[in-house]
Amino acid sequence: MTIRLSLKLLVASIALFAGGVHAVTAGSAAPQFTIADTTGKPVKLSDYQGKFVVLEWTNPECPFVRKHYDSRNMQDLQKEWGGKDVVWLSINSTNESSSEFKTPQEMGAWMKAQGAAPKAALIDSTSATGRAYAAKTTPHMFVIDRAGKIVYAGAIDDRRSANPADAKVANNYVRAALTEALAGKLVRVSSATPYGCSVKY
């Protein structure tokens, strides 16, 4: 009996091994946080469970951040993906002890002057969330999928410069990751070393 058995069960066992590996994904769970936005309203990452979320580490004093705002690259990304139900959160983790710290009012005014359109701009004055994500630079970008997993972490694009002219011609990793992830595809470039100013811890 085992002879015939082996043929049948071989098929079954191949199927079960294949079945066991389909759910494999890279990336770890996005750390939870609750931070007040520029209006003082607490924002929780878990509020947006089931949606794609982009975290943008920012600092108005940083020339690399200004590169992407002066070229309107960042505002365009915020609008483009906000329109597709992606939650965009800009986070300023500059520690309140730093000379570059911005009060919620200052940060709100700057974002408004830039015509920025994130879902919210968050003031991480203790830098705790920056540390939890190991955010190193401004900008440093994270894309989180509907299940709360980080599917992209790193540089905003592949032009490591402070020149605004580079922003529009660069290969934008965040756009690529969102395009693939929203289409249900695997994100091909899931990390790239970030570049920019250091986060002012």
Partner: protein, 726 residues
């Protein structure tokens, strides 16, 4: 004396002349925080020869510019040359950088003044008497707390001449900068080995060398070594320096070579020379995984990346791993999941008229090939998935509820068959039966593949740690260890086919064979019971009920089918089909659920359990909890899984022992349990940092000391000894 002074006067005159006319460097460009200019080592270009030119950057007090790898943030300085036809410029030759910490980050760069060198080759047909005009656009990022990108267009004109003298003001600085550029240093040999989340860089010193003091490694490329991670240096018994480097959290792909600069606070001695730095570029052996998230530990009292010290008996060499794998393979034949099926296969060989000796032997070889290739393929599959970025270790096949369910069904059907509840023959079309007879070798090979498949739930429980070790080795060695496992597993069967003398001592085939077959069904039923328990630990009670319900329906469908084939009405055939469909419907959610979907639910169950049973001293593992606890207290971590039998034995016999628990309590040891029953990337990473890819693993984290790794097979005395080191 006279000659000397004449020479001196000539030089002075020449210098003055050049300063006034021949050579003209534009005045240094001054930005807010940097003074920049191009300067040359010598006074003139000689046709066809190269000359060292430097970009001199003088930073304001407290400001810095960056090295070729800027570290955690920043940008390297760049130079874009515009040169006359025929002249060429080499790349920037970077002096050794300094570590510039901006807590908690780390940058690599320069403060004060730096000379970034470039070799400029003059055209061979350049005419003496004319001048060569160099122009370069320099861009740099200068930072203190704030960062400012700056640039300057710089020029330098030098005469073309048949002779060239040291440039009075900068010649000497450029020459000494060039002499001190990091390069190979005679007598100092480097080698690099990947060990999970660490790269171990060994540096062999020349005999009787002076100590180089503190060493620091600066990688040429980003995404290799975590810039802010702690680098630890020890000198081993042979006098070799061992620098342990943390792998980058955002590890860039294709980490094949370790290339960079090592600086030494007291310099590297070589002959009569002492140089402050050396460059090396060596192949990386072993295997690395991305390092843990940096910056989370505020106090580095306990460095979780520190190499764990090993209690006696935990170290495995390759030869030992091969022997273990081979013996393990032989033992697999006796496992409850494999033994019954293989015994029946063996008995089928003993039937009279089974074919010639030669045929029998070839069947044995085919079976062996099937077993070995399956193990190698399984290891290859796992390596491939990990290369693709999946956080998996050995045992991954039991971390999915879908696999557990499928295995339970497989074993249940096998067991029913052996009990005699039904015959597979009633299913197989006669053409298939004929085919197996015509292809006995292929069939034997497929039996080998099947044997590996049914052995898979046993390899993880009993051999997780050994095979986990194999996975930390380079791919070739990993496959070798898995092949050795296959050889061991195939050996008994192959021997039986090659030396069939044993057939003579068996009783004549008869009713006893049928009875033995029926008896051997019970280990299979036991396996099903165990799998149901694992599923319960992975998910919940509902999942177990769902599985058991599926089994009942499957048994019913098989019975109905058998009745129908036995000549009953068509209604029984319909019942069988309905039963099968019902089984699919009932089991379906188990296949849809992934471990990830249940991760959240699982955590809540685990914490609820901890909250409910107030006396349970074990707290569920999270990296943050471990960091938090280990800062001040000793912590014992039990890396375990429900499907790991070794883990369960250790737990029952040692960890749950009242005297052991008392010993833990006396020493104030916090107990943490990392349950790997489900897939969990955090735990997989923690295991990798310890150089493991499977459970069980037992670690005692000791404040102020490196963690202590205990053997996989625990004894009470081992725990007491480990606690005594606190």
């Amino acid at each position: 004396m006279l000659r000397h002074s004449r020479l001196f006067r000539f030089s002075l005159a020449a210098a003055l002349a050049f300063a006034c006319a021949g050579m003209s460097a534009a005045a240094p460009v001054k930005t807010e925080h940097v003074e920049a200019e191009l300067v040359a080592e010598r006074t003139a270009f000689i046709p066809g020869q190269s000359l060292t030119v430097a970009l001199r950057l003088r930073m304001a007090e407290g400001w810095h510019t960056y090295w070729r790898n800027p570290g955690d943030s920043g940008l390297p300085t760049t130079l874009a040359w515009t040169l006359p036809a025929g002249a060429t410029a080499g790349p920037i030759l970077w002096p050794a950088p300094y570590a510039l910490p901006v807590e908690p980050l780390m940058n690599y760069g320069y403060e004060g003044e730096v000379l970034l060198l470039t070799e400029i080759l003059a055209p061979a047909d350049a005419r003496p008497g004319e001048t060569l005009a160099l122009a370069a656009k320099a861009e740099w990022l200068v930072c203190r707390e704030t960062c400012i990108p700056e640039e300057a267009s710089l020029t330098l004109e030098l005469p073309i001449s048949s002779r060239s003298d040291p440039y009075p003001q900068w010649g000497r600085s450029i020459a000494s900068t060039r002499a001190l550029l990091p390069g190979p240093v005679r007598g100092w040999l480097g080698a690099a080995r990947g060990e999970g989340a660490k790269v171990v860089l060994t540096l062999t010193a020349p005999a009787d060398t002076e100590l180089p003091g503190d060493l620091r490694f600066f990688p040429f490329d980003e995404g290799r070594i975590e810039p802010s991670g702690k680098q630890s240096l020890v000198r081993d018994a042979n006098g070799t320096f061992v620098l342990t480097l943390p792998v980058a959290h955002q590890l860039a792909p294709e980490f094949k070579r370790v290339a960079g600069v090592i600086t030494a606070s007291r310099g590297f001695a070589s002959g009569n020379l002492v140089v402050p730095s050396l460059a090396l570029d060596v192949p990386l052996t072993g295997a690395v995984v991305a390092g843990p998230k940096p910056m989370t530990a505020a106090t580095p009292v306990l460095n979780l990346d520190a190499p764990p010290a090993k209690a006696p008996g935990t170290d495995v060499s390759l030869a030992l791993a091969l022997v273990f794998a081979f013996v393990g393979g032989i033992v697999l034949n006796l496992m409850p999941c494999v033994f019954p099926v293989l015994s029946i296969k063996v008995l089928s060989l003993s039937r009279p008229g089974h074919g010639s000796w030669r045929m029998l032997r070839l069947e044995g070889v085919a079976y062996g090939a099937g077993v070995i290739l399956s193990f190698v393929a399984l290891a290859g599959l796992l390596l491939g998935l990990r290369a693709a970025g999946a956080e998996l270790g050995w045992g991954f096949q039991l971390q999915s509820p879908a696999v557990i369910t499928a295995l339970a069904l497989l074993f249940f059907v096998l067991a029913l068959n052996m009990s005699g509840a039904f015959e597979f023959a009633t299913f197989a079309p006669s053409s298939a039966a004929g085919w197996t007879v015509r292809n006995p070798y292929l069939n034997s090979a497929l039996t080998g593949v099947l044997a590996v498949a049914i052995a898979s739930p046993c390899t993880a429980p009993f051999m997780g740690a050994a095979l986990g070790y194999a996975l930390t080795q380079p791919a070739g060695l990993t496959l070798l260890v898995f092949a050795a496992l296959g050889v061991g597993m195939a050996l008994p069967f192959v021997l039986l086919t090659w030396f069939p003398g044993w057939r003579r001592i068996l009783p004549r085939p008869g009713a006893w064979m049928e009875r033995l077959k029926q008896f051997l069904a019970f280990p299979l039923y036991a396996t099903v019971a165990w799998l149901a328990w694992v599923l319960g630990a992975q998910m919940d009670n509902d999942a177990v009920v769902r599985l058991l319900g599926t089994l009942v329906i499957v048994a019913f469908a098989l019975w109905a089918w058998r009745v129908y084939r036995g000549g009953a009405t068509r209604a029984f055939g319909v019942l069988a089909a309905l039963g099968l469909a019902g089984a699919v419907v009932v089991a379906w959610p188990l296949f849809g659920d992934t471990a990830e979907d249940h991760a959240a639910a699982g955590t809540s169950i685990a914490s609820a359990r901890a909250a409910g049973g107030a006396i349970d001293p074990w707290r569920p593992y999270t990296p943050a909890l471990l960091q938090e606890l280990s800062r001040t207290k000793p912590v014992f971590v039990d890396f375990t899984a429900a499907w790991c039998v070794t883990c369960q034995v250790n737990k029952r016999l040692v960890l749950n022992d009242s005297r052991v628990r008392e010993a833990f309590a006396q020493r104030g040891v916090e107990l943490v349990r990392a349950d790997w029953t489900r897939r969990d990337p955090d735990i997989t990473k923690a295991l990798a940092a310890l150089g493991r890819q499977g459970v069980p693993v037992y670690v005692l984290y000791r404040p102020g000391k490196e963690p202590l790794l205990l053997p996989e097979i625990l004894q009470k005395q081992i725990i007491y000894d480990a606690l005594a080191t606190l």
